[in-house]
């Protein structure tokens, strides 16, 4: 049996953390409880962030949006600020797990689990999201891609939590795209995913683009080189075919029960090819 603490505000949380320095923290529990069942969690107690209102919600602040770390995936899917500004994130949330898991799981949990296959990460990478980290006495902010160090590894120190995610609005990007390849249509762990933001001109020319692949390396893969190759061109098959081998070269996938590394390499390349036929 483990003790579970359910603080209702940050003040209470800091007090509990001080008294239970060894406790594990969780929000929706959709990752943590799986580990608990597999006996991978040895801490004597658990602290749940689910009831702390300060950590939830979406706040518009000028050209920036702050997403509370404990916002559930469902709440974000239904949120008009997210829908309006970050379709790339909505598209990913739409294929994350299932409605039941989305009702429980949070964006902060998805980030802190730092799974190579986490579905919100590629969109948050192309959005250049920043993570807000808080402890009892301090607060800091850093780029998401700096925050995630490897599979399951983040910069989070003892006594710290992720309180929010800051994302700048991206009015220039007029085409948001997310594709996930999994073993089925729901409740699927990504085998490969690709998030894309495009700025396409009236002449169908790429003026700007950001790309991020998931599940093909220990952390999300981005490529300035490929982005540069696409800018200034139409997304013709020819242009994409030229860029595709680079995608194959920069990913570092593994073989697992879901797919071979070879397949992941091939599909990482092919998802790029698909961009030519993505509808606006």
């Amino acid at each position: 049996m483990k003790r579970v603490f359910l603080p209702h505000n940050l003040e209470e949380l800091w007090r509990i953390i001080a008294g239970e320095p060894k406790a594990d923290i969780y929000a929706g529990g959709t990752d943590l409880l799986v580990k608990l069942r597999q006996n991978l969690i040895n801490t004597p107690s658990l602290i749940c962030l689910e009831r702390i209102e300060e950590l939830k919600g979406v706040h518009e602040q000028g050209d920036e949006v702050m997403i509370g770390a404990c916002s559930t995936h469902t709440s974000l899917l239904e949120n008009p600020i997210i829908q309006r500004n970050f379709p790339v994130l909505t598209k990913a949330l739409n294929v994350l797990a299932s409605p039941l898991i989305r009702n429980m799981g949070t964006i902060g949990g998805n980030i802190c689990t730092a799974s190579p296959a986490a579905d919100t990460l590629p969109p948050l990478y192309v959005l250049k999201a920043e993570v807000e980290i808080r402890s009892r006495s301090a607060s800091r902010q850093m780029a998401l891609k700096e925050f995630i160090l490897g599979p399951g590894i983040t910069c989070l120190k003892a006594g710290e939590i992720v309180s929010g995610i800051w994302v700048k609005k991206v009015p220039g990007f007029n085409l948001h795209h997310f594709e996930k390849v999994g073993q089925r249509k729901a409740l699927a762990i990504a085998i490969v995913s690709l998030a894309t933001l495009f700025k396409i001109s009236g002449e169908e020319m790429v003026e700007d683009v950001r790309l991020a692949w998931g599940s093909v390396a220990p952390t999300v893969v981005t490529s300035n080189e490929i982005e540069a190759m696409l800018v200034g061109h139409r997304l013709s098959r020819q242009v994409l075919k030229k860029a595709a081998p680079i995608a194959r070269a920069i990913v570092k996938p593994i073989d697992d029960i879901r797919a071979s590394a070879d397949y992941r390499r091939q599909v990482a390349e092919n998802l790029l090819i698909r961009l030519g036929s993505v509808q606006k």
Partner: protein, 768 residues
């Protein structure tokens, strides 16, 4: 209230209690002073047991008792035909899920600690995992003493002359197909609850398909008097064949003697269920098919291997049913069929919806399309030209009698808009998508075959409250047959649901009946129930006629809750009839045994024992639309149609649920389900790695029943529980071939395999 009628979609009686969580499954039984039982499993595929170290675990606080094979008085063997599975392994481990020690503990935590503390001293033996290799020279033996080595059972069926037949052929197609283990993945994992009563009765509540057979298996394996064993079978939270045989029963039966008077519970978690439960047999099938110039099938040579794992969990019967269905619903005059059911150290191969038929259908129906391509015929045309009809001899030489609606199914398909509009739909594929349409014919035999009696005993009584109580002898494993029983009895007794009552199977109150399996559940028990209901009705009316001083019995009839005398308009409630009738008149029972084929396709008595031949078959034809993504290899099933001849339909809703469920499970079998064990280690230990379809992966499905009339069935019905799982794999395979010209001979058709095949085709085209 209106009385129940045949052919109407009445709501299921279990719908409310299940959706509100009130229905009590075997897994829901607890009780005061509960003991938790659990099993230490081998974790290795093949080994000699040198020692089982239980001392550390035994002294753990909270541990009541730890038992091994030494504590078993009886044969320590269970099984249905060949009893070769130990309750607790004695000298050898034969697959990674073998049970080696049984722990009884005060609580779950102590149980798990104790299981971890037990260590096994095992001497590994070389394992054998490929059925074809297992029958080769020098292969390690799974059962040293078995006279046929690793061949559990071999079956041969021949008609005509296969050599001459092929010489007369105009075109020949040949292929080898490989299919994987499929896991049942029922919602409710194996669960049971037991107690040894003061009077010496061993009472077991268990999630099972076969309470009456379990009773004798438990008694024999443990060396106790069968009269002392009582099995109670609540609704199963799914079974699909995986609970047709002993799971926790014997273990609980052994446990109770070590804590008499206390309730004991065993409930496998998902990982244990995956590890220990039987699976659909993996198969390798070699097919060679020859035709005459007009497309008439003329010769078929089949040799196949079913991997049955180490025990006969109905494996022989599964293989035999595959053998009997290997030719599909067609006329073929020269046939040679050889099937091998082979022992290996893989997971146990056992009963699974379809029972050996999905594997052969996968092969035969792809052969039909390959042949059609070779001949330049449409897949529809080749099937139509060879379709079996009533009065034909089937390929194994048995006359086709009874309702045979296969041609009608084809006709219905041909006129359906999904068939007519297929080319239009195919032409509208988006970029990087290829669309294809595939069809597959299906047939499925019903019942146990010629030797093992396919019987049921129905019992029905009038209660003090004026209701008719039906004692079901056959478990409802989720398919809804219990409701159908009330519908059948209610229709005969002219009652509404409010005046019908159901008692789920209990070996103490129900009369012996066969298992919930073999697409026989509604047919065999339904026939028995008709007899019992009619007999009770007659008795009630005879006595009511006297009561009303009627001249003839025709003047009275049952109405919901009572009996009506037409001539006077007077009524008597059934609750009053209860007092008029003597106890001996309030209950009626009736036996029904399914008819068997008169002809005999084989001299092999053993093959007959394993179920060949069947007399009554359901038929159908399936169609699916698929879209293949050339960039990922992903196959999406976009639309599905199943036309079925399962005789008359008693409850259209229940029927449709069966067809839909089978299609969904069949789509999983075709696209993603593959239980992988490597050298005794399970690589797909849970639902995160063993992929079953979700609601989003199943397309809109149309089910059209033909409603032919089968004279031997209750109200004209035939079996419908299995046939729909036979079609999806070949229909999808054929659709994929239609879409992009590749055929995968190994399933499931994962995106990775498809993409590889597409690439290989591209490379070939490049070379040419």
């Amino acid at each position: 209230m209106k009385s129940l009628e045949i052919g109407r979609p009445i709501p299921r009686v279990d719908a409310y209690s299940k959706t509100t969580g009130q229905e009590r499954y075997a897994a829901d039984y607890y009780g005061e002073n509960l003991v938790w039982a659990g099993v230490k499993r081998a974790g290795i595929a093949h080994a000699l047991i040198k020692d089982i170290h239980i001392d550390d675990a035994k002294t753990l606080p909270g541990v009541i008792s730890i038992l091994t094979h030494k504590d078993i008085q009886g044969s320590n063997r269970q099984g249905m035909i060949r009893k070769d599975q130990p309750v607790l392994a004695d000298n050898k481990v034969n697959h990674c899920g073998d049970a080696v020690a049984l722990v009884l503990a005060e609580d779950k935590a102590s149980l798990h600690k104790a299981l971890d503390l037990i260590t096994l001293d095992l001497e590994p033996l070389p394992g054998i995992f490929d059925p074809e290799k297992a029958i080769g020279e020098g292969a390690p033996l799974v059962h040293e003493g078995h006279p046929q080595g690793n061949v559990l059972f071999k079956g041969v069926l021949e008609t005509g002359d296969i050599e001459i037949g092929f010489k007369e052929c105009h075109a020949v197609v040949e292929a080898c197909f490989e299919l994987p283990h499929q896991e049942h993945a029922y919602l409710e994992t194996e669960a049971g609850w037991a107690i040894l009563k003061e009077n010496g009765q061993l009472k077991i509540v268990v999630s099972t398909q076969s309470p009456f057979r379990d009773r004798s298996e438990v008694a024999e394996a443990l060396g106790i008097n069968v009269e002392k064993v009582r099995i109670i079978a609540p609704y199963c939270g799914g079974a699909f064949g995986g609970k047709d045989g002993v799971t926790v029963q014997t273990l609980l039966g052994l446990a109770v003697f070590h804590c008499p008077g206390r309730p004991i519970k065993m409930w496998w978690d998902r990982e244990e269920s995956f590890l220990a439960s039987p699976k659909r047999h993996p198969a390798r099938l070699y097919y060679r098919l020859g035709v005459k110039p007009d497309g008439a099938l003329h010769a078929l040579d089949v040799r196949f291997y079913y991997d049955t794992g180490p025990y006969d969990h109905l494996g022989g019967a599964v293989m035999a049913l595959g053998l009997e269905h290997a030719c599909g619903p067609y006329r073929i005059s020269n046939v040679s069929l050889k099937g091998f059911c082979v022992y290996t150290n893989s997971p146990i191969g056992g009963a699974f919806r379809g029972f050996g038929v999905p594997q052969v259908t996968a092969a035969m129906e792809q052969m039909m399309d390959m042949m059609a391509t070779q001949l330049g015929l449409s897949p529809f045309e080749i099937r139509k030209r060879n379709a079996i009809r009533c009065g034909d001899k089937n390929p194994i030489g048995i006359s086709v009698t009874g309702s045979t609606g296969f041609e009608e199914c084809l006709k219905t398909l041909e006129e359906h808009y999904l068939w007519k509009k297929r080319n239009e739909w195919k032409s509208k594929a988006g970029p990087f998508k290829k669309r294809g349409v595939g069809i597959a014919s299906v047939m499925h035999g019903m019942g146990y075959g010629p030797v093992v009696p396919d019987f049921a005993n129905a019992k029905i009584e009038l209660t003090r409250e004026g209701k008719f109580r039906v004692f079901s002898g056959v478990v409802d494993i989720g398919q809804g047959n219990a409701s159908t029983y009330l519908q059948i009895a209610g229709a005969i007794l002219n009652q509404d649901m409010a005046h019908m009552e159901l008692v789920l199977p209990d070996t103490e109150s129900a009369l012996p009946s066969g298992s919930a399996s073999a697409s026989r559940t509604t047919s065999t028990f339904g026939n028995a129930l008709i007899g019992a209901a009619q007999s009770l009705k007659h008795r009630v009316l005879q006595r009511a006629a006297i009561y009303f001083m009627a001249k003839e019995i025709k003047e009275v009839d049952l109405i919901p809750g009572g009996v009506n005398h037409f001539t006077t308009g007077k009524e008597i409630p059934l609750s009053e009839m209860f007092h008029i009738l003597d106890d001996s008149e309030k209950v009626a029972a009736y036996t029904f045994t399914a008819p068997t084929a008169k002809e005999n396709p084989t001299e092999d008595q053993n093959l007959r024992l394993h179920g060949v031949p069947h007399l009554i078959f359901s038929y159908g034809v399936h169609l699916c639309y698929v879209e293949v993504d050339e960039l990922t290899g992903n196959i999406e099933v976009k639309r599905y149609l199943a036309v079925s001849d399962c005789g008359r339909i008693i409850n259209p809703q229940t029927f449709e649920q069966q067809i839909h469920g089978g299609i969904a499970q069949g789509i999983g079998y075709a696209l993603c389900e593959e239980f992988i064990v490597k050298e005794g280690r399970v690589r797909t230990p849970d639902l995160a790695t063993y992929i079953i379809p979700t609601a989003l992966d199943v397309p809109e499905m149309d089910s059209i029943p033909l409603e032919s009339y089968e004279p031997t069935g209750p109200f004209g019905l035939k079996g419908a529980g299995e046939i729909s799982i036979d079609g999806p794999l070949p229909a999808i395979a054929n659709a994929v071939a239609d879409a992009c010209g590749v055929r995968l001979f190994r399933s499931p058709f994962t995106p990775e395999r498809v993409l590889k095949a597409l690439k290989e085709r591209e490379n070939r085209e490049f070379e040419h």
